[in-house]
């Protein structure tokens, strides 16, 4: 079985000395000041502050007062290519990722046409080799046209470099079909990333079912719509000895279902989005379509359960579910507007501001969870380690900024956090050995 493949455009490998940053890589047990020397895109040396001298050809990145983290990995984004290039592209989406400190992203296949055949996948990979600012992988659909009835050519797609399989946006409704996909997983490897939702329970729902939906007269999506499907699919994975990854967990019942499955020894992982960790259905009272997404924002109790689960590791990683939508489509009544919000550029800052600064989540835990998606999809985890490819996010944890004040790198602006004041700003991202993003105001002193 081949490795999942990520693609990006040709880049010049970095030769640089990152001087004076606070290095934090929980997985490598690093937490202290130091210099990092990058040679030909790899970490050549890590030493105490001031101990490393740059070679003549290297640029010096003065990172005094900044934190250096292993750059982030987002296993769940929508790049809208092919089909909705007006909303996002590989170029703009991966630039948004780089600006958010991400060194790798995985795109979902619910495009138009759906990524359900090797030729469509191959054309995307080709475009990524021309456009992508950070290594970008593409998941393929589990079922043809995401219709939920017939498996895609999973083995061939895996050989063609699919980073995983998902019908994201839709559940695999039929248990029998998911079972077959789990059987096929033995042949093609790769994780099955599942959007868990019972369509008969969600029905025409547009927000979480609860007191707020009762007040607004909006059809609700009950929490059990998600948790019952997780329980079903965990049982199927256990029965077939397969591996599943649950996307965008939203409810406390879902956390319980994942915990139960893990305790039973089932190979299951889970992700959670920054918006589900920081917002609730109370925000929907405004009927602002910037708070409309699927799964919906749930209650404060759910939010607290998600934070606890992220802290404990019951939820493995953060994923943004970056879902760009055009302004016209979002400027409609709540019930009509499409579901989804952007998140790549704000993910770290939002979680740092809302969870780390108030003391709800340790910085080290957040940093670890921001790149833990890599291992789930069989990708090497970014690390501050000698010999590793350079994947660094340089972050100013003190910097205050307002979301959207200078526009977005993304082609779309449907961000739940628009206008919010955040603390913590990515100044520079080095992805797979090359500088992928530098904030304009971040001065660089060449030697």
């Amino acid at each position: 079985m081949s490795e999942p493949s990520l693609d990006r455009r040709a880049v010049a490998p970095a030769d640089a000395l990152v001087r004076g940053a606070w290095l934090l890589d929980p997985r490598s047990g690093i937490d202290g000041g130091g210099d990092v020397l990058l040679t030909a895109g790899r970490i050549a040396e890590i030493g105490p502050p001031g101990s490393l001298e740059p070679p003549d050809s290297a640029e010096v990145i003065e990172a005094d007062g900044l934190h250096a983290f292993p750059a982030f990995v987002d296993p769940h984004v929508h790049l809208r290519v092919p089909g909705r290039e007006d909303e996002e592209g590989i170029d703009s989406g991966s630039r948004a990722a780089a600006a958010g400190g991400f060194c790798a992203i995985l795109a979902m296949p619910n495009t138009d046409p759906v990524v359900d055949s090797a030729p469509v996948l191959a054309s995307l990979r080709e475009r990524a080799r021309e456009e992508a600012h950070v290594p970008t992988g593409f998941l393929a659909a589990i079922t043809r046209s995401q219709a939920g009835t017939q498996l895609t050519e999973m083995a061939e797609l895996a050989d063609a470099g699919a980073a995983g399989f998902s019908d994201d946006g839709l559940p695999v409704e039929r248990a029998g079909v998911l079972r077959q996909a789990l059987q096929y997983q033995r042949l093609c490897g790769r994780v099955l990333a599942l959007h868990e939702e019972d369509a008969t329970l969600s029905a025409s729902g547009v927000m979480h079912e609860g007191a707020v939906s009762a007040l607004l007269g909006l059809a609700g999506i009950p929490s059990v719509s998600e948790s019952t499907m997780i329980a079903r699919d965990a049982a199927l994975a256990g029965y077939e000895g397969g591996r599943v990854h649950v996307q965008h967990l939203s409810a406390s019942e879902s956390v319980a279902a994942v915990e139960q499955a893990k305790a039973a020894g089932i190979e299951i992982t889970a992700e959670v989005t920054p918006h589900h960790l920081t917002l609730t259905d109370d925000d929907v009272r405004s009927l602002d379509t910037g708070f409309k997404m699927n799964p919906p924002l749930r209650t404060e109790e759910d939010r607290q359960a998600l934070i606890d689960a992220l802290a404990s590791g019951a939820i493995d990683c953060v994923a943004t579910d970056h879902a760009p939508h055009s302004r016209e489509e979002k400027e409609q009544p709540f019930e009509v507007a499409p579901m989804g919000v952007t998140g790549l550029e704000t993910a770290f800052a939002v979680l740092h501001t809302e969870l780390v600064l108030p003391g709800r989540l340790a910085l080290a835990v957040l940093v670890e969870r921001m790149s833990a998606g890599a291992a789930i999809f069989g990708l090497p985890a970014p690390a501050l380690r000698r010999g590793a490819p350079a994947n660094l996010a340089l972050v100013d944890l003190e910097a205050k900024w307002q979301v959207g004040e200078a526009g977005y790198e993304s082609r779309s602006a449907n961000c739940s956090f628009a206008g919010r004041d955040l603390t913590g700003r990515v100044r520079m991202t080095i992805a797979a050995g090359a500088v992928a993003y530098r904030e304009r105001s971040f001065a660089i002193e060449a030697v």
């Binding site: 609860g210 007191a211 707020v212 939906s213 007269g217 909006l218 059809a219 009544p333 019930e335």
Partner: protein, 319 residues
């Protein structure tokens, strides 16, 4: 008050002011010439994206009796049919500098969007299943004329609460006025956690005898896509208000149009306890009062405005 979007935005004093104003307009309605010049030379736009008879006609009459020019749009046959977005429609209509926009939409929050996109005061004439605030105000008005005080009244709202914007506005309105509100219907038609609106929930009519007012909701047959009730026959046996269930001391209300033989039995519709006809009659004066409140109410301390209006509008009496 700048807009009327949700009952939740109104204080008890706001509601009482509007109801008092409606009383004063009721006197005008009794005259030979039913018009007052308050909105002379100004334009009220009625924008109806959903079928409506009584709401749209009573808004039109209310605006005309205030001497406003009225432009009424129905979604059918307008550029909405050609795919124009709500935003573009509102911006186009706003170019006519309307004094107010009245909107009925199948979608919750539409009135709020109109308020954002237009400079004009906006009246929500029903937004999806969310709210229908002028209906709630006219219900309060009607009831207040029949009872000495609203405070402490036990009101049962019976039927399809799930799909009812009238129910939502009325739960908020009745409880704001100090009534004790109970909603009752089959569990499939009662929204989860509806208690958060300030009401209690019953699934049978067994204790409906405690109610001072029974407010029956229309079974929204057009919204019954799923199997919300197994059959209308069974629904009627358990939830229909008939002569057996309605006691002589209770009042009966219904927002109309009535599905005879479903939520109400014919015998109670014409009973002396039924306020259904009065509810319809109240529609015009209450909507006049709402338009007045939004368009002229804020000018109360402008002496010129008061001079102009004193002869034609009887100032409200203390309730």
């Amino acid at each position: 008050m700048r807009h009327l979007i949700s009952i939740d935005d109104l204080s008890r004093a706001d509601i009482e002011r509007v109801l008092d104003r409606a009383e004063s307009f009721a006197e005008v309605s009794g005259r030979e010439i039913k018009k007052v010049p308050t909105l002379r030379g100004r334009t009220v736009i009625n924008l109806f994206y959903e079928a409506s008879t009584r709401t749209s006609s009573s808004f039109e009459l209310a605006a005309k009796r205030l001497s406003a020019d009225v432009l009424s749009f129905k979604a059918q046959g307008s550029s909405v049919d050609k795919g124009e977005s709500l935003k573009d429609t509102i911006q186009t209509l706003s170019a006519y500098d309307p004094a107010a926009i009245v909107i009925r939409s199948p979608h919750a929050g539409a009135a709020q969007l109109v308020a954002r996109w237009s400079g004009a005061p906006v009246v929500n004439a029903g937004d999806g299943k969310r709210e229908h605030p002028t209906q709630a105000l006219l219900d309060l008005y009607t009831l207040r004329r029949r009872v000495p005080s609203l405070a402490g009244l036990k009101v049962w709202i019976v039927g399809d609460v799930l799909h009812s914007r009238v129910a939502r506005s009325n739960i908020l309105a009745f409880s704001r006025m100090g009534c004790e509100v109970t909603v009752c219907g089959p569990p499939t038609l009662i929204p989860r956690e509806v208690e958060a609106l300030g009401c209690s929930v019953r699934y049978t009519l067994d204790e409906v005898g405690e109610a001072d007012v029974i407010y029956a909701l229309r079974m929204q047959l057009e919204r019954m896509h799923g199997s919300f009730v197994p059959s209308l026959r069974e629904y009627a046996t358990r939830f229909q208000i008939d002569a057996r269930r309605l006691s002589p001391s209770q009042l009966l209300m219904h927002p109309g149009p009535v599905n005879r033989g479903v939520e109400l039995d014919a015998s109670v519709i014409d009973s002396p306890q039924a306020l259904i006809v009065e509810q319809v009659e109240s529609g015009v004066v209450v909507r006049m009062a709402v338009l007045y409140e939004l368009l002229a109410g804020g000018r109360a301390d402008d002496p010129a405005a008061v001079r102009e209006e004193v002869p034609v509008v009887v100032e409200p009496q203390p309730a």
